[in-house]
């Protein structure tokens, strides 16, 4: 049976091309893979190969013809012994492109986001914990979270620079090597790209790695594996291959370590579908959310804060205490203005709220806890009550978390806002070293107080 040779698409963007040259003429025998013609695409001159063996029966498009559309029949290939006459063009298969178009029409609504999961109108905080607590530092709360999960699940292991024998560069992994041994608490070379990739591979195989970055600044070398490998594979695999991994370490400005070691990555990772991003503040946050992150079947970016490591909180000691990912916490109730903050800035916002209270302004302070998925419900419910919103973060303003919250509030609570959202953020410069400049670059209690007054139109 004769076969139509069609004008091939030879690049992702090609719709038509020039048939520049025939290398075979009518009557020539060809083998599969043999070059029969040359065409010029939008990118280059390419060779057209015969896809089957046979004899060139008829050339339908002459050499030198411009603007030949993809899938136009350019020649007819006959089986040996077959004649041109016996091959009526109508018997040839129709260009296949037509059938693809018919296959499944694009739904014009396909860009619409999926319906939001059903949720109660009133925000449910997690059940109030009534079990035993203990005063401990954030550092100890994080350590206990890992230790409890490692006791619970033998597939959980910790790896990173100085996590084992040195006991953690910031002593967060203190005692883990002694309890769990060097098979499960693993010192790595200082090669973030490599060990992040190795961790992701282990997670593909079903293990549950907790990968510590000494700081998130160094994780930029591992960004490719966090984004390209960890976050995207589940989708690219049509749901087959999950990646139960936690990347954790101190994020944001520390103190006097200058530009390369002082940066908030909440907005960076918050941008990526396929990741969950957590930025805890208190000891309770750290313990309950790190345990949740380790149990979560998805890749989780866990942004700690070095300055918080030494601060003490009352922390639940029940090993079953776990906080929900994606839920914010109202740390202080108020009626006049809502302040959102995450990580260390929650404490600064609470100080500002105390100062404002003395001046007769009652601020509601929301600890975001999770950056992605963001608990927009808790924020909007608060804004519906206070009608004013100030967002606080240490990161830069451009495309930052405050920018995102302001946009969401405009979309969902526009009529509830009595004033434009005011953002408090880190100065839009690389972090300076000098003590006075560093202080100027970071949000202070005074900045938050001033922002609240601005959003309240108060003097």
């Amino acid at each position: 049976m004769s076969i139509q040779i069609l004008m091939p698409a030879l690049s992702p963007t090609m719709t038509e091309g020039k048939l520049s040259k025939w290398l075979k003429k009518e009557g020539d025998k060809v083998k599969a893979g043999q070059v029969i013609a040359e065409i010029e695409t939008d990118k280059a001159t390419m060779e057209v190969e015969a896809v089957d063996e046979g004899v060139i029966g008829k050339i339908l498009v002459a050499a030198g013809t411009d603007g030949v559309a993809v899938n136009t029949p350019i020649a007819i290939l006959l089986e040996e012994g077959e004649s041109t006459a016996s091959s009526a063009p109508s018997s040839a298969p129709a260009p296949a492109a037509a059938s693809t178009k018919a296959a499944a029409p694009q739904d014009s609504c396909s860009l619409r986001p999926p319906p939001a999961p059903a949720s109660p109108a009133i925000v449910q905080q997690e059940k109030t914990y009534t079990g035993p607590t203990k005063t401990m530092t954030v550092r100890e709360a994080l350590r206990d979270a890992m230790a409890e999960e490692m006791r619970r699940d033998k597939e959980v292991f910790v790896m990173g620079e100085e996590v084992a024998e040195y006991q953690g560069a910031y002593k967060v992994t203190q005692g883990l090597l002694q309890e769990f041994g060097d098979k499960r608490v693993i010192d790595t070379p200082i090669t973030e790209y490599g060990f992040a990739g190795l961790g992701v591979g282990a997670a593909f195989a079903g293990l549950k790695p907790v990968v510590e970055f000494m700081t998130w600044n160094f994780a930029m070398q591992a960004l490719d594996h966090i984004v390209s490998s960890a976050a995207k594979t589940l989708y690219m695999a049509g749901g087959q291959l999950g990646c139960p991994i936690v990347f954790r370490g101190p994020n944001g400005p520390a103190s006097r370590v200058a530009a390369q070691h002082s940066q908030c990555y909440a907005s960076w990772y918050g941008h990526i579908p396929g990741l969950k991003v957590i930025a805890p503040w208190s000891g309770e946050d750290c313990k309950g959310l790190l345990k949740a992150a380790i149990r979560d079947p998805n890749p989780v970016v866990f942004l700690e804060n070095e300055i918080m490591y030494g601060q003490s909180f009352e922390v639940p000691t029940d090993p079953d205490f776990v906080l929900p990912i994606g839920k914010a916490k109202v740390e202080r109730t108020g009626t006049d203005v809502t302040i959102t903050a995450f990580s260390r800035m929650v404490g600064v916002a609470l100080q500002a709220a105390e100062r404002l209270s003395e001046q007769g302004i009652q601020a509601e302070v929301i600890n975001l806890r999770t950056i992605r998925p963001l608990d927009t419900e808790t924020i909007s419910n608060s804004v519906k009550k206070t009608n004013r919103l100030v967002s606080v973060e240490e990161g830069w303003p451009y495309a930052g978390i405050g920018a995102e919250i302001a946009a969401i509030m405009m979309e969902s609570c526009f009529d509830d806002l009595d004033a434009p959202v005011v953002r408090v953020y880190g100065a839009d410069v690389p972090m300076p070293y000098a003590a006075n400049l560093e202080k100027l670059a970071l949000p202070q209690v005074d900045d938050i107080v001033a922002a609240v007054k601005k959003v309240s139109y108060a003097a």
Binding site: L6, P8, A97, A103, P189, G194, G197, A203, L207, K276
Partner: protein
Amino acid sequence: MAAPKSSNIATPEQMMQFYKDMLLIRRFEEKAGQLYGMGLIGGFCHLYIGQEAVVTGIQSALQPQDTIITAYRDHGHMLACGMEANGVMAELTGRIGGYSKGKGGSMHMFSREKHFYGGHGIVGGQVPLGAGLAFAHKYRNDNGITTAYYGDGAANQGQVYEAYNMAALWQLPIIFIIENNGYSMGTSQKRHAAGDFCKRGEGFGIPGEKVDGMDVLAVRAAALKAVEYVRGGRGPMILEVNTYRYRGHSMSDPARYRSKEEVEEMREQHDPIENIRQVILGLGKYQEDDFKAVDKTVKDIINTAAEFAQQSPEPDPSELWTNVLL
């Protein structure tokens, strides 16, 4: 190393199976190129034609619990792992019947069942990921090993050496397989790589070997040795398998950086499929008719796959939102 006698490496039945496995890849890729030309496959499409002996020889030496990972020239690896031609071809056409429901495409397919972990589109990314798979074998003590495939271009990536270091340090059961087809996209080896790939593990104490990747029996022989070494708990090994791709880097590459004579010489003189055919014929057990029967079987599989890949519907629009998170 003296060439091993072919009869010590594989039985005639096994050789016939290698012929069939390689032919399946060849015909699959030819059909994929054809469907690309018809506009049924979009985007990037990297064909494995010419390199068939590499994955066929290596996979023949593995056990069921072993894991496999590679880059984006991956159709051959999937078929060699036993993944169905239908599912692979339907992924190329972006249909729901594809291994990733049409959401991954040519470069991103996976099969947990067949222990195939992708299918990765970032050059070199699969090498540390593969070290992680090997880490899991060791962690679980399941006697499995990992084969991580990458090209001569990827072999220059920094993360490859980070993976070498950790694999050697922790004695991970992994074979690093450099499929050296001589070109890093359009840049020839002599313009992109210093030294010998197989020696690049020496500083880490990783032994390496050069293998003729156009000879499936030579690949199998080297793989059998490497598998024994790695499964024995002695840490990783490197195989530099020298091969050749007949087509361009991807469908839109006219491959002007090498001469027609060079390609023609490889196709005519060193074709891995023709090579094994001659070896088998020389043994006298199989005749031309046996090959014809295999050719027919393979042709039927490929035609069925092409048909399936065109008949399977596109994913439902609701699939846009699924599989982002578990």
